[in-house]
Amino acid sequence: MEQLFNIDLDKITSSSKKENIERKKNLELFFESGLPNKRDESWKFTDLNLIIKKNFKNISNNFDFNFDEKINFISDFEHNFILLVNGYYKSSDIKFEEKGKVQLERLNSQEKINNCNEINLYSLNKALSLGGYNLEVQKNYKCKKPIVIYNYFNSNLDNKIINNSNKIKLNQNSELTLIEYNIDAKSKFIKNTFETIEIEDGSVLKSITIQKTKSNGYFYKNIFGTQGYNSGYHNFILSSGLKFNKIDLEMNLKRENSNCFVLSGLSLGKDEHQELKTKVNHLAPNCKSYQKIKNVLESDSKGVYQGKIFVKDIAQKTDAYQLSKALILDNRAEFNAKPELEIYADDVKCSHGSSSGSIDEDSIHYLMTRGIEFDVAKKLLIKGFLNEIFENIVEKKIKLFLEKSIEEQINGI
């Protein structure tokens, strides 16, 4: 493992002595355990060790956070923004919100991040993490406009690894929509992100991830969240176009009446690999969770969905649903799913469904008899297949913007 990496810990200047020791310890831990491989049940369908070894050599940590471009703002809707360059918090402008209601700063202490469900990459992140953001919304404040995170990546990141961590906290009865917007300059790097989310009683967090351009980056993101009474978490994953992407989400519904939605619509092209792994823990009665995962697979792409619903014995009246659907358009493409249920309470409604197959020939035939060309008909059906995900987005402008982005992606197939 050590041959693959060329890590310089001393250059991380901002850390205290205590933190330095901690970082060193974690790096050693990582070198001992190495990158996860297929032996690890959570990496059953994705051998990260093999993928990284095949594509990278002499991986070093990144210290270049220069940014001299102009931000290419989204003009479709008004929004606040955060600028991250190579994962590093640069600046922000929360101009649409009342003063002091939304606190935002660079995350300097690693202590607040405690996602232990993926040990190996967690140690690596703890050793090298630099400069993510720490976001907190005050009690009883509902944000007026969404916050867009402009995630810029430079062009000189070949064989670099970026580690950052973020912390998001919504105090009681608050609301926030967060849109992560990735803009990439086509270099080949690894990004390892750990994120902790705390949604207190009565609060709602909506999170959307979208990709502006295709990327050669290899992304791993671990999200660990807890939810309070009557809270909501809605996550829309629309990050098509990445060479490699794995999102590892664990949400804990700790108090009654909370709900968790994970919706994903992805279209994968040549040499692309996307994995979504979710674990929703129903720890209290009367909670609801809903997962809908849709993949369109072209060329030699590979899509993976590993979802798990856990229902604790006291979590009666749970309503949990998991659905994964894949359209496989090429014989080289592959879709793997492991929708898992672990249930210890009897008065629950839990179900899952998974299906994968080709585009429905009858539907194509129907459209073609009405004078629509094959290619157009195919694109129309793909769009219809993916658009179902947006049903739950209420804000019209954002919905239109997302539909537009997805359409661009489909046309790119």
């Binding site: 929708p339 210890y344 998974s354």
Partner: protein
């Protein structure tokens, strides 16, 4: 639902037969294997095969990924061979068989006397490590069908055994399969010649009797081109405070246009209501659809055993071959089950269907774990999976862990699963019509399982239906 404590019905088959045994020396070693091979008068190639497996076993580790955990098994504290003394010289006819043994089978409801037996079922009765008797041999011989204990087949039909033994489950497969390959004692061997439809159901009845003994049976069924066979398997064991290991291997081979239907009603001793004792049922069952248009269908009703851990699988090699899996797994009290199937699609136009019904009550844990793997070359393949779980009470668990892999664009895979409890409206409806709570639950559960029960041959279906009701007695509250 009103809470009412009901006494569990005693396990009906929990008696022991007091009979003098010959045992292999205790523990797992080359000596033990040589002892088994010697007492079975096996040829040298068989002993070599066993020793090869034993050598492989030294480097294998016991798997630990399964859901039900169990205390470490001390393999050196087990007997690997136990047979009634009277069976030392194989009896030539039923008249020579120890009356105590015949009595045992009568008590289990399996009369070995052909006249008394329901016509249409031929039985091979396996008691601990040996086959006691095989019925209707003459009639089967006429058709060229071979149905005999595997130890006999090794001597009389070495070519067939050599060709097919270990061809579906290789000796280096996994820990328990390899252990079985090294020390297997008896089991059934079936060969159906080409274009023959087996005129009766073939059946094996397994009985564990001796204490501190593991049962390692091996079954091999070969259906030659264009043939058909339906095979049934039943099992019981005495009530004991210790856990006993049952690690069997079952291999099925279906050649072109052949069909094998394999049904199991598993009723090993499940342990008492506090989870003491019971059988560890760690079985490897695998079938290969080698030829075009072949079909293998597994049906299982799993009600017994402290731990059931098995995945009857189909390897669909031949084009247009079909694999089916119908399962009911019922766990009550402290029982645990981790069962399901693997459908490996390799040939074109292959189809598979999985229907699994899991029922947990008491403090039991029931897991469905399955794999559907469609290879790149398995064009136009199709799979449909349905797994439903029923929970009774909030101290038990129901889990579904399906692995689904689809590697080409012309194949379709569908998976559906639900988990729920017994519908209150249905219960109310039954209560209103004069059924008490227990009867109502039994009726509803039987309805829940019907899709699987109707796959069983007639003789078994009746028994299985009763078993489903009995297994759940005392779980309603």
């Amino acid at each position: 639902m009103k809470s009412e404590e009901l006494k569990n019905q005693e396990y009906k088959y929990g008696f022991t037969t007091d009979i003098e045994n010959i045992k292999a020396p205790k523990g797992l070693s080359e000596e033990t294997i040589k002892f088994i091979s010697n007492i079975k008068k096996e040829p040298k190639w068989m002993l070599d095969w066993r020793l090869k497996a034993f050598k492989r076993l030294q480097v294998l580790k016991e798997p630990s990924w399964q859901k039900p955990k169990y205390p470490k098994i001390n393999y050196q504290d087990l007997y690997y061979y136990s047979a009634p003394k009277s069976m030392k010289e194989k009896p030539k006819s039923l008249n020579e068989v120890d009356p105590k043994l015949i009595d045992t089978y009568n008590k289990l409801g399996i009369p070995l006397n052909e006249q008394k037996r329901l016509s249409g079922v031929a039985v091979d009765a396996v008691f601990d490590s040996v086959s006691v008797a095989t019925t209707f041999k003459g009639e089967l011989d006429k058709k060229g069908i071979i149905f005999c204990p595997i130890s006999e087949a090794i001597q009389k039909h070495p070519d067939l055994v050599k060709k097919y033994l270990g061809s579906v489950i290789p000796i280096s497969d996994h820990y328990f399969a390899t252990l079985n390959s090294a020390v297997f004692t008896d089991g059934s061997f079936v060969y159906i010649p080409p274009n023959t439809r087996c005129p009766m159901e073939l059946s094996t009845y397994f009985r564990i009797n001796a204490s501190e003994t593991g049962q390692f049976e091996r079954t091999l069924i070969i259906a030659d081109k264009g043939s058909y066979v339906s095979y049934l398997e039943g099992c019981t064991a005495p009530m004991r405070d210790e856990n006993q290991l049952h690690a069997a291997n079952v291999e099925l081979v279906a050649l072109e246009d052949a069909e094998i239907k394999y049904s199991t009603v598993q009723n090993w001793y499940p342990g008492d209501k506090d989870g003491v004792g019971g059988i560890y049922n760690f079985v490897t069952k695998r079938g290969a659809c080698r030829g075009k248009n072949s079909k293998i269908s597994w049906t299982q009703v799993e009600t017994g055993s402290a731990i059931t851990w098995k995945y009857p699988s189909c390897i669909l090699q031949g084009d247009n071959s079909v694999g089916e899996f119908y399962s009911i797994a019922i766990t009550n009290n402290h029982q645990k089950a981790d069962t399901g199937t693997k459908m490996i699609h390799l040939g074109k136009n292959t189809k598979s269907k999985i229907i699994s019904k899991g029922i947990s009550a008491g403090k039991a844990d029931n897991t469905y774990r399955g794999l559907v793997d469609i290879a790149t070359k398995a064009l136009n393949s199709r799979n449909y999976t349905q797994c439903d779980s029923l929970l009774m009470g909030n101290k038990c668990g129901a889990h579904t862990i399906p692995y689904i892999k689809n590697k080409n664009s012309s194949s379709t895979v569908e998976h559906e699963a639900t988990t729920s409890k017994i519908n209150e409206d249905q219960l109310f409806y039954c209560n209103q019509r004069g059924l008490n709570q227990e009867e109502a639950v039994s009726l509803i559960v039987n309805g829940f399982c019907k899709e699987v029960l109707q796959q069983l041959p007639m003789e078994f279906a009746v028994e299985a239906q009763k078993l489903v009701s009995i297994s759940l007695e005392g779980s309603v509250g």
